[in-house]
């Protein structure tokens, strides 16, 4: 079994900031994920979009890290949007009620269209 360590890259796209997430979101991802989010916030965007298309695994610690980002976004009145989740993780985001507090999109185009509108 191969595991992929977590990494994240930040890019600006059409006036929004997108964080591309790669690998597995678990306890090991904490520092890199939080740093990426801090970097994303530097330009004071109205919305931050998380791209999960290249994420293969999220465990409960990973859910807690995402909840932490949601709390930061809420504190700074910043919208948080998400796209690229697999069906299984969409279900988990629904069960945990994360979907009540962030917007889920199937792809980058729809996420950008809705978020920067």
């Amino acid at each position: 079994m191969t595991t992929r360590p977590f990494s994240a890259t930040v890019r600006r796209q059409d006036g929004a900031v997108i964080i591309d997430l790669h690998g597995e979101i678990n306890g090991f991802a904490e520092t890199a994920l939080n740093q990426a989010y801090t970097q994303a916030e530097e330009s004071l965007p109205a919305a931050v979009i998380l791209n999960f298309a290249d994420v293969s695994y999220i465990n409960s610690t990973g859910i807690a890290l995402i909840v932490g980002l949601m709390a930061r976004a809420r504190k700074n009145h910043r919208r948080l949007a998400v796209y690229g989740l697999s069906e299984h993780y969409v279900e988990i985001f629904q069960i945990t009620r994360l979907v009540d507090f962030l917007n889920l999109y199937p792809d980058e185009t729809s996420a950008l269209a809705e978020t920067i509108a």
Partner: protein, 530 residues
């Protein structure tokens, strides 16, 4: 009751000066001459007795009695009273003011009014009765609606699902005589894998019994959390129930603990009709001494044992069955019950068998006298085939951060041949990963020399993944969804999702705590999967 009818209809002529216009010509007669007087007529007002004693029209000016109502009528310039009497009861009055012509009422007028009263009184009575019946129907509907809600609430107190045990078929029926019931049954699981079975019957029926039922259920559940002996559970429940149960009420109750693996049944009885054990050879009453709950404090309950061998079944019931009567007033009775149990045709579905027997005995128009409840447990006659699990994998995972991925993958590989749907496989993987993380972190404190042991097996259409650690003490059971709002406000740690996720991924979760290990048993139904 008379006062509610006293909105008397009164006819008045307007004073002549009001009819004169400024130009000196008279106006057309006023067409709004009817006034409703809110007459304050007490039932002991002498006017009532007087009006009942006379027949026909009464001239107000000729009356002289100490009557507040009469005084009020005179103030309103009422000249004539036409009593409306029906079946000896004064149900209304027509009160007339002065004639428009300012002349006295003639004999013809009075005769006409008397005739009118004779015809109007029964019509008014009918209208009043219709109104009264409509109000009563509305009240009945309101009560029935409340009872419907009460029944729904009470049904939520019964087990939502019947327990699923390998090699056992469990069934139950609950049929209240009224909207709500004093009968109930319940099941609870014990950490050693035993199943608790309760059947109980509160004296009386309807709402009072239902309220005591709800209390008794909670008390028994609370006792079963602390004790795992049926006699002790009943002893505790009796002492808790005794101070609060209303006088003349009590609860009969049987509590049994079944070890599904061995078929051993420990039971105690608080005055409930004895359960029956049926084997291919005989039918045996499972009697045990004990007073009903709520009658006297500090009662001891005899605890006995029986063993349900493969092919045996257990039948628990409430007295609504044995005390049911047919149209000839014969009682269903114990001999009949025993006869049904011995009948060979009643093997597959005992509950349906008894229901059919009861319906045949009582007839189609039976007005059910008492609540009827059955609970049955049947042990499969082929225990080896039904209960011997097929071992798919035994794994030992070192307790190191990130190793849950290894557990997840190895379990996924082990179940490959079961043909689980992709979505259910993902759920299984997440549940296994979370349970393994839980075991590594909380049970083994991430000590690599304390591995997490995983056993994957399949039996009777179910997959079981048992994940054990080396922890001690109780595992806190999932208590609903974590409070996401509090987490987002920073009032709670963002963590704490593990058990909640597991519970939502599996078909059943059992947490077994021993002295030196915890085991989370994750169950997935395989029915419908190849």
């Amino acid at each position: 009751m008379i006062t509610r009818f006293w909105k008397s209809v009164t006819s008045f002529a307007r004073p002549r000066q009001e009819l004169a216009r400024e130009d000196g010509r008279e106006t057309a007669p006023d067409l709004r001459p009817v006034e409703i007087i809110d007459l304050d007529l007490a039932s002991n007002d002498p006017l009532v007795a007087y009006l009942l004693s006379v027949s026909g029209v009464v001239e107000v000016e000729r009356l002289n009695m100490d009557s507040p109502a009469l005084k009020q009528l005179k103030q309103k310039q009422v000249k004539l009273i036409v009593p409306l009497v029906s079946q000896g009861e004064l149900i209304g009055m027509l009160n007339l003011g002065p004639r428009r012509s300012e002349q006295d009422y003639s004999t013809d007028d009075r005769r006409l009014l008397s005739t009118l009263a004779t015809q109007a009184a029964p019509a008014l009575r009918v209208a009043q009765l219709v109104q009264q019946q409509q109000a009563e129907a509305r009240e009945r509907e309101r009560i029935e609606q409340e009872l419907r809600v009460a029944r729904v609430i009470q049904q939520t107190l019964l087990p939502k699902e019947l327990p699923k045990l390998d090699g056992w078929e469990i069934d139950a029926l609950w049929r209240p005589a009224r909207a709500v019931s004093g009968d109930f049954y319940d099941f609870f699981s014990f950490s050693d894998g035993c199943l608790g079975i309760v059947i109980a019957d509160v004296t009386d029926k309807g709402v009072p019994a239902a309220l005591v039922m709800a209390t008794t259920r909670s008390i028994l559940r609370s006792a079963a959390e602390r004790w795992d002996a049926p006699g002790q559970i009943l002893y505790q429940a009796n002492n808790l129930l005794y101070p609060d149960i209303p006088p003349n009420m009590y609860v009969t109750c049987m509590v049994a603990l079944l070890d599904p693996a061995s078929g051993k049944l420990r039971y105690a009885n608080a005055g409930h009709p004895p359960a029956f054990q049926r084997s291919p050879q005989q039918v045996v009453e499972l009697r045990a001494r004990g007073m009903p709950l709520g009658l006297m404090p500090d009662m001891d309950y005899e605890e006995l044992e029986a063993t349900l061998a493969p092919g045996d079944s257990l039948f628990l019931y409430s007295d609504g069955l044995v005390e049911a009567h047919n149209t000839s007033e014969d009682m269903f009775g114990f001999p009949h019950l025993r006869q049904v149990l011995t009948r060979t045709g009643c093997n597959e579905d005992i509950v349906q068998c008894f229901l059919g027997e009861l319906n045949a005995f009582t007839g189609p128009d039976w007005e059910q006298e008492d609540d009827v409840t059955f609970v049955t447990l049947q042990r499969s006659s082929q225990p080896e085939q039904a209960s011997t699990p097929r071992l798919l994998a035994e794994l030992s995972i070192p307790s190191l951060p990130g190793n849950e991925r290894q557990a997840m993958q190895q379990v996924a590989d082990a179940v490959e041949g079961l043909g689980m749907e992709p979505a259910r496989l993902e759920r299984l993987k997440t549940a296994v990963a979370e349970a393994t993380m839980n075991a590594m972190e909380h049970g083994n404190q991430y000590q690599p020399d304390r591995p997490v042991n995983i056993r994957v097996s399949a039996a009777a259409g179910r997959l079981c993944v048992a994940i054990s650690d080396h922890g001690a003490g109780q595992v806190s059971t999932p208590a609903g969804a974590p409070d996401l709002d509090a987490k987002l406000q920073g009032l709670q740690s963002p963590r704490g999702w593990g058990l909640f996720l597991i519970e939502n991924m599996v078909d059943e979760l059992k947490i077994v705590s021993g002295e030196s290990q915890h085991t989370l048993e994750l169950y997935f139904d395989l029915k419908g999967e190849s």
